[in-house]
Amino acid sequence: MALPAALLSRVEDASLNASAPPAQWWIDGWLVRTLPGKARRARCVNALMPGVLPLDERLAAAEAACARTGVPLIFRITPFTQPADLPTALRARGFAPVDPTLVLVAPDRAATPPPAVPACLPLEPLDGEAFAEAVGALRGSPPEHRRSHALRLAHSPAPYRGLALRRADDGLVLACGQVATEPPFAGLYDVFTHAEARNQGLARLLCEHLLSLGASLGGTTAYLQVDAGNGPALAVYRRLGFVDGYGYEYLERPAG
């Protein structure tokens, strides 16, 4: 089923809003995000308007903005990128694609109560700082990445809610994730399962609770971004009713 272009364009808006970092600049129609940290979406260029400057001048200005916080110049290329031939021009200048990603959408999800969680694995709401710490611990992220993540969550115009499934015995977080709501949209972010707890249905259980939470806050059309090669995650999301929306990738200069 192909989703309407107008819906996908609004999903892209919602995902840009939900990933807005405190540090971003407009440069001749490019939204240049420069927050250091793990998330590429908070440190990349979104080419949203054709602009008027010659490409090399725009590149130099964007590179200077990135240099102020020490992040490399990376482009996020979506079906909405302007002008459409920008990726070709960037590749000709040595930029190469990384991280192909799929945006999945579940329009107008039926609002059904999520299943109960087992008593041995209580569900716990987490504020932004606690969430950044929990998911940072699961991913093994360095402290500066966790701080940067918490900073972005605190400043997001689309409010985030974090949930964790924590093992009652020892308090270990086995799965966590967040939902960012901008009615009628709800975006799932940072869904992560502990390596020892995969293939037990925890990601699905957690996502059902996140989706219900998002829907109760007005976000009845859900979306998420997932690594195009992450088969297990894609299978979970498809079972939850998500269908393909569009794809994007990053273009960056190879190191060295």
Binding site: A116, A119, L123, P125, R161, G162, P183, L210, S212
Partner: protein, 261 residues
């Protein structure tokens, strides 16, 4: 922010147990909740783990204009939600509110100040139709009615429905019955099953699917200053209240987003 009164003009039907445990259940599934205790007995305050005798400011001060909600609220130590507490002082508000301007909208105006901070406000109403109850009903988007499935249950309900109709017509056009919650339910008692069936036949979708069973752990929890939901999460009563929170949140997800404003 959605504001709900938990109300029934019949006493002893489980209003406070419902308010406290629904607050804890909603908090547990990720919602930000404020419980407002509008009953001078202060049972919801105590049941949330807050000593009503030690409160420096209460809902009384908010209604009279002596404090804002931000100053008067307290976190429930185990519940995961905030409480605007009450104690016997609140009984005096009935008289003191009479000469005040917008006397039935004092709570509504105070809640407007904190609307960005909460997803849900749950108001535990006293069983009588008083100026306090009226403040609750004027503030709310809807009413949740806990009911025991007993012989006189429907009689009390018709009084409440008439009150809600009057408030809807004169004071608060948004007010509606969100649903009826069957509480203290024992399926082994034939009469309860019959009344439950009657409720379903009469009110259809307005009856919540979740049924709260009669459960001793729910009854014990207040003496430990905890909602049953956190006191014994594995108990049938606690699990039923969390299921109710999930059902309610899902029902609200079906409404247009503007309802949340």
């Amino acid at each position: 922010m959605r504001i709900f009164c938990i109300a029934n003009q019949k006493g002893g039907v489980g209003k406070t147990t419902t308010t406290v445990n629904l607050a804890a259940g909603l908090a547990q599934i990720g919602h930000r909740v404020l419980l407002v205790d509008l009953d001078p007995q202060g049972n919801a305050t105590m049941g949330s783990g807050i000593d009503k005798r030690a409160l420096e400011a209460t809902v009384y001060d908010v209604l009279i204009g002596g404090a804002g909600i931000a100053e008067a609220r307290q976190p429930s130590p185990h519940g995961g939600y905030h409480v605007l507490g009450a104690n016997r002082e609140l009984a005096g508000a009935e008289v003191e509110l009479v000469p005040l301007e917008q006397r039935e909208r004092r709570l509504k105006n105070a809640l407007a100040v904190v609307k960005a901070e909460y997803d849900f406000v749950l108001i535990d109403c006293p069983p009588s139709l008083s100026l306090l109850t009226l403040n609750g009903l004027c503030s709310a988007h809807g009413v949740i009615v806990p009911m025991q499935c007993e012989y006189f249950a429907l009689e009390g309900l018709s009084d409440l429905v008439n009150t809600i109709k009057q408030v809807h017509a004169n004071l608060n056009r948004e007010l509606e019955i969100i649903g009826l919650l069957r509480v203290m339910f024992d399926p082994r008692i034939t009469l309860q099953q019959q009344v439950s069936d009657q409720l379903k036949a009469h009110f259809g979708d307005k009856v919540f699917d979740t049924v709260i069973p009669r459960n001793v752990r729910l009854a014990e929890a207040p003496s430990y200053g905890q909602p049953g939901v956190t006191f014994d999460p594995a108990s049938k009563g606690a699990q039923a209240f969390v299921a109710f929170a999930r059902e309610m949140a899902a029902r609200l997800g079906q409404k247009p987003a503007t309802a949340a404003a």
